[in-house]
Amino acid sequence: QDLPHLRAGMLATGTVGWEAAVIKGNKLDEANGFVLDIQDYADNPATRIAFEGGEADVIVADWIWVARMRAEGRNYVFIPYSRAVGGLVVKDDSGIKALPDLKGKKIGIAGGPLDKSWLILRAYAEQEYGFDLAAETEQVFGAPPLIFKAGLEGETAGAINFWHFLAKMKAKGMHDLISVSEAAEALGLDPDTPLLGYVLKGDYVASNPEVAEGLARASRAAKELLKSDDAAWEGLRERMGAADEAEFEALREGYRDGIPSGAPVDEAAADRFLQLMAELGGAELVGKATTLPEGVFLTLE
Amino acid sequence: MIEVDIASKAFGAEEVLRDVRFSVAPGEVLAILGPSGIGKSTLLRIAAGIDRDFRGKVKRPERAAMVFQEPVLMPWRTVAENLSLVHPGLGRDGTLAALDRVGIADKADQFPRQLSLGQQRRVALARAMAEAPEVLFMDEPFVSLDPDTAEEMLALTERLIAEVRPATLFVTHSEAEARRLATRILRLTGRPATISVPKTGG
């Protein structure tokens, strides 16, 4: 047939890849009126270059970045895909019970100083315990695998990592000191606001509305499968790279936890979130987007 | 015909040559004599067009050949190649013949560093004489050679000059050599060096 093609620039190792594999494996793309062409890239910036360079129609990113780019005049839009489910993990035998116990210790952070989980936790520490987490601890920023390793070795007392590494870390004797959704809730934010999503160009959506809708539907269908059907996971085993069954299950459950409700995004909550990020992360994180620009979240019929 | 008219040549503040003027007709041989460090090589280099940083002017024909004060061979090319790269017209046979004339045809396929200094100098001589030049510059061409070899080289040079009749300028420290080869002798003296007593030799 002559279905329109949607070129997706994706992190080959990312969790998006799992969803994409399910979409392709079950022909959910064609069922929803488009063909998904997956281009693998090895790093996040690579997908953004592909998107900027017009080689990819859709990539995965967080909506803060979309807001930032919109504020710069880029007409990008966002289709929710996953909620923030990061957290700060410590070793089970570390004796650390609450954030203040980390004072004077090292925290390993994979996403850099602008990591959203880190920023939320800083705000939370300020609000709940009245101390500046950034000032009272030493941060070690590094590549996710290195933070993973440093956390397990005890080189850092706590670790904030990308969630699939967190899942592995939890499977290896670490636990959440505090989850980011708890912290977000305590800060009056909506933990249901999905952080990650598919990013498309507004122009593309305008000229191919049916593809954008198809993508949203296909994504939701894939998630339904993954949510309910353990068998759907068997096909993903290899690309998940879990070392053992415990890790595999941790990854699966982690993914399921991250599936957003599907309800329309609460823009007011998102705006509050963005303003907090703007305050903590500054222009380096949000650029000119100090409040939520119009039209970040794509509303489909 | 080569015409040299050097008003002044200086290295930095030190003037080395002043008012050196002469011309050498085809077939003529001008010997340049003078003490070490007076400016003989400098004069030759100006005449050959290597050094252009002087006041005055020089005219000389196109096809020049030169025997430098040191052999100046390409150490990464064989002896034969050192000739044939400069004179591609010679061909392998011509190259070997030229080397034979200076007595080192057996070294044709060795590298210059495998030769004794005297042998290297002879390669340089062979290179200068391989193709009939219109001007020939020679800077002490016959040193580092034993008397017999030197005599052979001298005879060879004499023959070449007689046949090809280039305008020849040559620097030497040996009165005997000068008298034998030169039609004229030019002596450099003083500081800056000037021409002293040009006289006609035999």
Binding site: T13, Y41, A42, A50 | V72, M74, W76, V86, R113
Partner: protein
């Protein structure tokens, strides 16, 4: 000592073996296959990568890029280096550019190339070439500055034509510089190709290495790294060193 033990090829093998022993020892000390696996534990995954054809395919992609960029960077770099080394006027003009391009982060050049030229092979190769040319230029320029004036004068007096002069007078003097620039160059090129690949290509060793690194699969990272190194060792032994021996023959004759 035994004759067989002093033979160059034997030493070569022994030397590589020593390196493997070092690896084994390091792995034993580390005692964590996640961080540094034992060499033998990589054999099975290696065989699998070869069988599926993945490794040869990615290797081939990377090699093509390396070769293209190498040829381009070396030729441009030698020409520029010669010009800058020989002509002070050119040098004065281009020197600041050289410093800027020499120190422009690979990342910046790569991203700009991708955004301008597009995410394609041309951009990838252009990015690597642009990254490497200043390096080659810098080294060759030093060589060009150190040329023997005596030989140039000889070539001038005897009116050697430019081509012959370049080939027989200039290049042999530059040979050690070219050899140095080429060797260290191919290594730098391959390192930049790795970055280029992970930033905007969907294949090649660099893509694979980064992918596996994201998964913290050090073993796979090593397998892919070593596959290129083995190719380089072969190139070194079968091409570069015999060629060099010939070119350098006059020094030891």
């Amino acid at each position: 000592m035994n004759d067989a033990l002093t033979h160059p090829a034997a030493i070569r093998v022994l030397s590589v073996l020593a390196l493997v022993v070092l690896w084994i020892a390091a792995a034993a000390v580390t005692a964590d296959p996640l961080i540094l696996p034992q060499p033998w534990s990589l054999l099975a995954p290696f065989a699998q990568e070869v069988e599926t054809g993945r490794l040869p395919w990615h290797l081939w992609k990377t090699l093509t890029r390396v070769i293209w960029a190498f040829v381009l960077a070396m030729s441009l770099g030698v020409v520029l280096g010669l010009l800058m080394g020989r002509l002070p006027a050119v040098d004065r003009w281009l020197d600041p550019w050289l410093v800027v391009f020499l120190n422009l982060p690979a990342l910046v050049l790569i991203v700009l190339c991708y955004l301008w030229i597009g995410l394609n092979e041309t951009a990838a190769i252009a990015a690597v070439t642009l990254n490497k040319v200043p390096n080659v230029t810098t080294i060759i320029r030093e060589g060009a500055r150190a040329l023997d004036p005596g030989l140039s004068e000889m070539a001038q007096v005897f009116r050697m034509p430019a081509g012959r002069r370049l080939r027989h007078v200039v290049l042999p003097q530059l040979a050690p510089f070219i050899a140095g620039a080429a060797r260290s160059g191919i290594a730098v090129i391959w390192k930049i190709v790795l970055v280029v690949e992970f930033l905007g290509r969907s294949n090649g060793i660099g893509f694979q290495i980064h992918l596996h690194f994201q998964q913290f699969a050090v073993g796979m990272v090593l397998i892919y790294s070593l596959s290129f190194i083995v190719v380089m060792l072969l190139v070194e032994w079968l091409v570069l060193q015999p060629f060099e021996r010939r070119v350098r023959h006059w020094r030891t004759a």
